[in-house]
């Protein structure tokens, strides 16, 4: 009996503390609270990328709050509602509905193209603007929804940029292409394939794997027999790492090239020496070449105690694009914000941010990186917006 009453007392005390916390927060706000949604894979094999985006957006929200933004003459406070889509398309739509039901003004997300595309219907139906920090599949902005935006170059820009580098700088004659059967991987690989073919480069093999496989011996052996100068892989680091190891052990001389999905420290971590010389394109300028680059990297490190992985600057810029649109609109109504978002123009951390009529980033620059001495080193920047290949 005594034990039970002390338990009751404890829970009552806990309830008081929790209630107290809530009250304190509400008191300090003063103005309206504006909810901004965020969705990315916060758990799972891509959690390192998702957490990075979440931290980037959180940093943006915290800075806006510190600046004390006024919208329509009223002081407002932003609040981030972060949701985990587990890189799973089905989960992504559930999470999107949850954000829509919570009446967020806008959403920064998702990361995977395979998640952003199905989720975009939910946001479009609810009239909520969606800015993806990392989805590069062209289809995302080509579905006819007015609510889709992205702050990265898409694969119709990224794939050709990689191809341009392969043709002009590496002077390749024969290439093999592998994709991981995801929206992202297939989109990137086929954009690359189209561009090299158009330039008269021979595509000797087109192979497919999945985003869960770690055995590529059979397809690599087939590729080896055709002796290409370069292997292009549309996929992410968790497959790229073991693939590089197997390329080395099967004795292929061709280098591996990929997109932003393999341009991570994790790839080098997984592949070790075998990563040396691997080439990857990544939307945006090199982290330290971004207009707000080094300052951002320092701020990020100070706030979270970790280095920027990849997409944090894009998440950060997405938040500022939204704030800019809200200020212009003088409102936090999704419809009015949406109208202004189309006209937004400002200098973000990643470079000038402005959207074209489909919601794609205008003139998104693309940087080619190569692994040298176990580190990704930028070697060339290609302006992706200059010469995008026509989409299918």
């Amino acid at each position: 009996m005594k034990q039970r009453s002390s338990f009751l007392l404890f829970s009552a005390a806990l309830a008081l503390i929790v209630a107290g916390c809530g009250k304190q927060e509400a008191a300090s706000t003063g103005g309206d609270t504006i909810k901004i949604g965020m969705a990315a894979p916060l758990t799972g094999t891509q959690s390192h990328i998702g957490q990075d985006i979440k931290n980037g957006t959180l940093l943006g929200v915290e800075e806006l709050n510190a600046q004390g933004i006024e919208i329509g003459g009223k002081k407002v406070k932003f609040e981030l509602m972060a949701e985990d889509d587990e890189a799973n398309p089905a989960k992504a739509t559930t999470v999107a509905q949850k954000l829509a039901d919570a009446k967020v003004v806008a959403v920064v997300g998702h990361f995977n193209s395979g998640c952003s595309i199905p989720a975009s219907k939910v946001y479009a139906d609810a009239g909520i603007p969606q800015i993806s920090p990392g989805s590069t599949n062209p289809r995302y902005t080509q579905q006819g929804y007015a609510t889709t935006f992205r702050v990265v170059a898409n694969d119709d820009q990224q794939g050709p940029a990689g191809a341009t580098y392969a043709i002009n700088s590496l002077k390749v004659k024969k290439v093999a292409v592998i994709d991981d059967s995801t929206s992202y991987g297939q989109g990137l690989a086929s954009a690359f394939e189209r561009t090299v073919k158009a330039a008269g480069v021979e595509v000797v093999a087109v192979e497919h794997t999945t985003d869960k496989d770690t055995d590529f011996a059979a397809i690599l052996t087939n590729i080896k027999s055709k002796n290409p100068d370069l292997i292009f892989f549309g996929g992410i680091d968790t497959q790229g790492g073991p693939m590089l190891k197997q390329i080395q052990s099967l004795g292929l001389s061709a280098k591996l090239m990929g997109g932003d999905g393999i341009q991570t420290p994790n790839l080098v971590h997984l592949a070790g020496d075998a990563a040396e010389g691997t080439i990857a394109s990544i939307p945006g300028l090199p982290k330290d070449k971004m207009p707000g680059g080094t300052a951002f990297l320092d701020k990020f490190k100070k706030r979270f105690g970790v280095e920027v992985e990849l997409f944090a600057p894009m998440g950060y810029d997405a938040v500022f694009a939204l704030a800019e649109a809200m200020k212009k609109a003088g409102s936090t109504e999704s419809a009015k914000v949406l109208a202004e978002l189309k006209k937004v123009q400002f200098n973000g951390v990643t470079g000038p941010v402005a959207f074209d009529d489909k919601g794609d980033l205008k003139n998104g620059p693309i940087t080619i990186n190569v692994v040298k001495g176990g580190k990704w080193v930028p070697v060339e920047t290609i302006n992706g917006g200059a010469n995008p290949a026509p989409a299918k």
């Binding site: 799972g44 094999t45 497919h208 869960k212 080896k224 968790t238 997984l270």
Partner: protein, 307 residues
């Protein structure tokens, strides 16, 4: 020619991995008529425990071979204990329940184990140290690494050792008796519970070694690695005739070869209509065809369905 040889090597290595894991499925099925879906996860735990031990020993300055022996000395007993615990906690209480119940429990155990590993080691892909020499050797233009040779030789040895165990030891005789009729075996003085526990212990010990070999070969380990591997190994066991030790080996090798040759040549033979993405499709088509003509698998014996 070189390419064909390389694809055959790829297939045999992959097939030996399947065979090694399939032995664990087939042993349990042979005795209990139970498909232990958690076996793939035991394989994964074996890889993870070894990785953890190696990481602990990393700064010790011991030679790699000694480190590997210590890691094996921890991982194998750990997996054996895990196997015995799974049997005691999840399967024994359901031994006389309808067959569907232990099957569902097995899937449950498999999920529990995956997420236990997530809690301890996280969801990331872990790079696996080169515990065995992986510098490839050239054979007529094709390449095979010592680690891969060890995988092939080890699977064959293990199958041989298990066959010997089952046919030439006291425990083996007790196993065969239990497989035939547990009730009669018990009347003859066989400690059936002990026999079943030993089956799980041996199978799980093998699983631990399989996990290490697979991870060394692909130089990566993650919490979901056991799932697909388990499914393929189960397919291999069914293909060869589940419950039959030699069948697990035959089924594993066959499946590995079909996958390697399938994804290697299908694209070229069909002029790009079917690509390497049809790899699993071909493997399962072969399984279906075999099951239509030989429902008990290639080497399986026709046995009356147990009640």
């Amino acid at each position: 020619m070189e390419t064909l040889l390389q694809q055959l090597i790829n297939g045999i290595v992959l097939g030996s991995v399947y065979a090694l894991v399939a032995l664990g499925y087939t042993m349990v099925y042979g005795i209990l008529g139970l498909i232990n879906f958690a076996h793939g996860e035991v394989v994964m735990v074996g890889a993870m425990v070894t990785l953890a031990v190696i990481k602990l020993l990393a700064g010790s300055g011991l030679p790699l071979a000694v480190q590997l022996l210590i890691a094996l000395g921890v991982a194998i007993p750990a997996c054996m204990a895990l196997g015995a615990t799974i049997e005691r906690v999840a399967y024994r209480p359901l031994r006389n329940a309808p067959r569907l119940a232990p099957l569902i429990t097995a899937i449950g155990v498999s999920i529990v184990l995956q997420y236990l590993v997530v809690l301890i080691w996280g969801r990331g892909y872990h790079p696996y140290p080169e515990l065995l020499p992986t510098t490839p050797i050239d054979i007529a233009g094709a390449r095979i690494s010592p680690a891969q040779i060890i995988i092939v030789v080890f699977s064959a040895l293990m199958m041989g050792a298990l066959l010997w165990l089952v046919h030439h030891t006291r425990l083996g005789r007790a196993m065969r008796a239990t497989a035939e009729n547990p009730a009669v075996a018990r009347l003859m003085g066989v400690n059936v519970n002990h026999v079943i526990t030993m089956t799980f212990v041996i199978g799980s010990g093998l699983g631990a070694i399989a996990g290490i070999l697979v991870s060394v070969n692909y130089s990566v380990a993650h919490y979901q690695m056991g799932f697909m591997l388990g499914l393929k190994a189960f397919t291999a066991a069914v293909l060869g005739g589940i419950g039959n030790l030699a069948g697990a080996m035959v089924g594993g090798l066959l499946l590995g070869l079909i996958e390697a040759l399938g994804s290697g040549y299908v694209g070229d033979l069909t002029g790009g209509v079917f690509g390497s993405n049809y790899r699993d499709v071909f493997a399962f088509i072969v399984l279906i065809v075999v099951l239509i003509f030989r429902p008990s698998g290639l080497l399986g014996e026709r046995v009356a369905e147990r009640a």
